[in-house]
């Protein structure tokens, strides 16, 4: 089952490349639906019988590659497939039939998903490096898929950032291998716990910093807004919703896995990601409040929302922190995908890229604006939504460990999110200026965004199963 989650996207990606976009679309959508089913089945299996392992080709570690799915990886797999399928349907309606972007779009999405799924299932540091690069290169390709000069420039900037990030990660892996002679995350836990020379600290620092760069955590966020704000809407949605989460997932994995003994020795180090996360929340929100282009606003909102994810690091002493982090990842993933999708529809329909050009869309594109609003509720952390549950968990954890400052950041961050979300809604509720035209858009565009947004809200009414899944180790 786990192997198929990696092979299936590779398969349909290659076929889509050979058969061309018109037939590739359907292959992709069928493939994604199958992946979604696989992810659900895997999650159900794990909840039932604990973490699962698969040795690829019958070769176990250290020679072969082991795939392991525990609650954390299964949750991330589920999130990825849940977002990818609706976005694929959206993308099918979004791109015009003869759009040159589609030639590469479908194969690249396939490779991207293969990279993501492999990353969530990998257990050795080098294998993770390969998946990171596969993921990064496919994502860069997607940013460039639009083909405009600005998009190419954004893609190049993104490429250099992601290459430096994974380069630092690889150097870290090299140092670890040089020290311990293994790259298995499982074996490393006890090895590093027993003895950690200074070199390992450097390695850990390099790896975490490299991954933070790829996650676009403040102050490494410089590449994200042009890349996510400039790409075609389905690409922006996919990148903002899942791709940046992958490197966050790795930071978390390393932090609670191999490097867990280091964080015990130097307890202050947990405040480093939290500090950057705090700055990200404030800086990202500030830029989103100021942004003039709608997609730029949403991209900066991603910078801010990623900050929340890093607030859990000082709280990891209690099990709830992981749950809060995953809840926030789900909330932001679903909501941000919905928001970019809705923004794409708004821009397509009005021909206006600016926030100021949105007057009157509440009346003319109610479903899309509703989707935007629901996604906004999740980002603001207002009930009932997954974002609210994440916020609740974070605040309660912060209070129980007496880290008041984290609770404060979460609350203020929510209010700042309200400022930029309602900046858009306020404009949308204004009466349309005379003479403005709205081109009709396919209903699929409106309803896929709505579905994603609704999911982000409805998860807020029932998070028990997800939390149960995350708890499986």
């Amino acid at each position: 089952m786990m192997v198929w989650l990696i092979l299936l996207p590779l398969l349909w990606a290659s076929l889509a490349f050979m058969l061309g976009p018109s037939r590739g679309v359907w292959l992709s959508i069928v493939g994604l639906a199958a992946q979604l089913w696989l992810a659900f089945a895997l999650a159900a299996e794990i909840v039932g019988s604990g973490a699962a392992m698969h040795a690829v080709g019958g070769w176990g570690a250290p020679l072969g590659i082991d795939l392991v799915a525990d609650g954390l990886s299964a949750a991330m797999l589920l999130l990825t497939q849940c977002i990818a399928l609706p976005l694929a349907v959206y993308a099918h309606a979004y791109f015009k039939r003869d759009d040159p972007a589609t030639t590469y779009f479908w194969p690249l999405v396939g490779f991207l998903l293969a990279g993501l799924n492999a990353l969530f299932l990998s257990t050795d540091l080098f294998n993770i490096y390969v998946t990171l690069e596969l993921l990064g290169l496919a994502a860069v390709g997607l940013v460039a898929a639009g083909g405009g000069a600005q998009q190419i420039a954004a893609a190049l900037r993104y490429l250099f950032a992601t290459l430096v990030g994974s380069g630092a990660y690889l150097l870290g892996v090299a140092l670890i291998y040089g020290t311990y002679g293994t790259v298995s995350t499982v074996t490393l836990v006890s090895l590093i716990g027993a003895d950690a020379p200074d070199l390992v600290w450097i390695a850990g620092g390099l790896m975490v910093l490299g991954l933070m760069l790829k996650t676009a955590l403040f102050p490494f966020h410089f590449w994200l807004p042009p890349a996510h704000g400039g790409a075609p809407a389905p690409v922006s949605a996919l990148l903002s919703a899942v791709v940046v989460k992958a490197s966050f997932y790795l930071v978390l994995r390393l932090w609670i896995g191999p490097f867990s003994s280091l964080t015990v020795v130097a307890s202050l180090v947990v405040w480093f990601p939290a500090l950057l996360g705090t700055l990200a929340v404030f800086w990202g929100s500030y830029q989103a409040i100021r942004a003039e282009r709608l997609k730029m606003l949403i991209a900066y909102s991603t910078v801010a929302q990623l900050g929340y994810l890093f607030l859990i690091f000082p709280l990891l002493a209690s099990a709830g922190a992981l749950q809060a982090g995953i809840m926030q990842a789900f909330a932001h993933g679903l909501a941000k995908a919905a928001m970019f999708a809705a923004a794409g529809t708004l821009i397509k329909a009005t021909g206006q890229e600016m926030v100021a050009g949105l007057a009157g869309v509440a009346e003319r594109l109610p479903v899309t604006l509703f989707a935007f609003g629901l996604a906004g509720i999740t980002l603001m952390g207002l009930p009932p939504s997954a974002g609210f549950l994440a916020k609740w968990q974070l605040i309660e954890l912060a209070l129980s460990q007496q880290h008041w400052v984290i609770a404060f950041v979460v609350l203020v961050g929510g209010l700042l999110a309200a400022v930029y979300v309602f900046r858009v809604l306020r404009q949308a509720f204004l009466l349309a200026p005379a003479g403005s035209v709205v081109t009709p858009v396919p209903r699929t565009l409106e309803w896929t965004a709505f579905g994603l947004a609704a999911a982000s809200v409805l998860l807020g009414l029932r998070g028990v199963e997800l939390m149960q899944l995350v708890g499986v180790t």
Partner: protein
């Protein structure tokens, strides 16, 4: 799922489902939309009636769902909740009728009625919430659902009003959330219970509980428009009249006041709150609000603004009643929750009628309005006299109990506050009545939209709701000792909240 679990959910569904369906209706399907609206309102009333009969017979209705491990979304329909539910369900019916008449032919009605129904759903959720978590969920939902209604007209002014409303309520919400999570962290749950839950913590936590109380009161105080958190209410007057009715009588400020009641009685417990010295500061804020609101109302020429400041003042009667330690004050406060709603909605319906029929928006334009629109003006007069507290009206009953409650609690200064407010009420309402009845009709009305036909001075759907609520204002005043009056129900609640004192009803 048993019947007793289903019933509270059905009450929620009876406005949620019509609301969601209405969103999908094309603008032109007036008939189906009206049918959905009214059948939803009537079904809800029937369900509420079932609840009332059941609760009076001692049945308990409740259901809960796990949202996260250790965190439940739970509902119960108890006597206190039913007071609010009944008020909202009854007034929702009339407001819906009124809104159908008011918005006839206006654009964006599907959106309007959709959010309107969501508002009422949120209000029902607030009333039936069985813990603070659930209360907060619906409290914020109410904020979100009212925003599109406040900005419904889509003009710059209405958007500005809406943004002010949001700024106040969202910040208030964040403060409220802090308090709730803190309490949840200390107690491990936030379930409402008679006589409170906070007392279980022991005296080591008194300081924290006082801070939490402050946070919670700021949170709900925003919606209850307690000075200095009241700034949004007069600004939100740009909304259409049915929305004002919703804000002032059915849902929003009531949700705030109701939140205060729940927190004081069923989270802290009135007796424990008294022992923590929490009631007196709250009483002082309520008193300041009562006087300040009435005072500001004096200087408003805009009719709806004057009414808005009047609401600021009147809602704090409820808060004041809550803080008067003793069952009599409790009764005065709680019964005013209902009475204020009935009277204020009458006044807003009438103000809407003046604006829609004759284009009157200002007090200074009211000259002779009584002769042109006698029925509306009679209703307005009844509402205004009720607000002043003239005998035979609902307002008189509330005030009598509040004053007795104040003297029973040994807070004689509160009596002076109430009398001052009554005088100010008279000072800002009586000139309006005088203009309406005794000044001559002007040569031309500001903008006459609807021409009188026989006794029908305006559209009948606009006329009917205020007349009914005006009659209710009189009926609740005159028959206050009847078995089915709000007052009797409130006595039932008070008997359940004071567990250590035996109650003898004297007045």
């Amino acid at each position: 799922m048993t019947f007793n679990e289903l019933l509270p959910l059905a009450v929620l569904a009876s406005s949620l489902i019509p609301g969601l369906l209405i969103f999908t209706l094309p603008e032109s399907w007036v008939g189906l939309r009206t049918t959905l609206n009214l059948s939803g309102a009537l079904v809800k009333l029937a369900l509420v009636l079932l609840l009332i009969v059941g609760v009076q017979a001692g049945e308990s209705y409740g259901v809960h769902f796990a949202v996260l491990p250790g965190l439940n979304l739970s509902f119960k329909a108890d006597a206190l909740g039913l007071l609010f539910i009944t008020l909202s369900a009854v007034l929702w019916l009339f407001t819906t009728l009124y809104a159908i008449g008011y918005l006839e032919g206006a654009p964006r009605r599907s959106r309007f009625f959709g959010f309107f129904s969501l508002c009422v759903t949120a209000t029902m959720g607030i009333a039936m919430a069985a813990n603070l978590f659930t209360f907060f969920v619906f409290y914020e939902l109410l904020t979100l659902a009212t925003f599109p209604l406040v900005v419904h007209r889509g003009t710059e002014a209405s958007i500005r009003g809406g943004m002010t409303y949001l700024a106040y309520t969202l910040i208030g919400g964040a403060v409220l959330l802090t308090g709730i999570v803190w309490l949840h962290h200390l107690l491990g749950h936030t379930d409402f219970a008679h006589a409170g839950i906070a007392v279980a913590l022991g005296s080591a936590y008194d300081g924290q509980l006082q801070i939490i109380f402050l946070l919670l009161m700021i949170g709900v105080g925003v919606k209850a428009a307690i000075v200095p958190l009241h700034g949004w209410l007069p600004q939100a007057m740009v909304a259409p009249a049915p929305v004002s009715a919703l804000l002032h009588a059915v849902a929003v400020v009531k949700a705030g006041a109701f939140g205060i009641v729940r927190i004081v009685y069923e989270v802290y417990g009135i007796e424990f709150a008294q022992s923590l010295d929490l009631l007196l500061p709250l009483a002082i804020f309520a008193a300041v609000t009562i006087v300040w609101g009435s005072f500001r109302a004096l200087f408003q020429d805009d009719l709806k603004k004057r009414l808005a400041y009047s609401t600021v003042s009147q809602v704090s009667y409820i808060v004041l009643g809550v803080t008067l330690f003793g069952p009599i004050g409790t009764v005065g406060g709680l019964v005013h929750l209902v009475h204020q709603g009935i009277m204020k909605i009458t006044l807003f319906f009438c103000a809407g009628n003046y604006a829609e029929t004759l284009g009157i928006h200002k007090v200074s334009e009211m000259n002779g309005a009584g002769r042109r629109m006698p029925l509306t003006s009679i209703a307005f007069t009844i509402g205004a006299l009720g607000m002043i507290g003239v005998p035979l009206t609902a307002g008189a009953v509330s005030k009598a109990w509040l004053i007795d409650g104040a003297s029973a609690a040994g807070m004689d200064w509160a009596i002076w506050v109430l009398w001052t407010s009554s005088l100010l009420n008279a000072a800002y309402f009586l000139p309006i009545l005088w203009r309406a009845w005794f000044k001559p009709i002007p040569k031309a009305w500001p903008a006459e939209h609807i021409v009188a036909r026989g006794w029908r001075e305006t559209a009948w759907l606009l006329l009917l709701p205020p007349m009914i609520t005006a009659v209710m204002t009189l009926a609740t005043g005159i028959f206050s000792n009847n078995q089915i009056s709000p007052l009797s129900w409130v006595k039932l609640i008070a008997e359940r909240e004071y567990i250590h004192e035996s109650i003898i009803w004297t007045p």
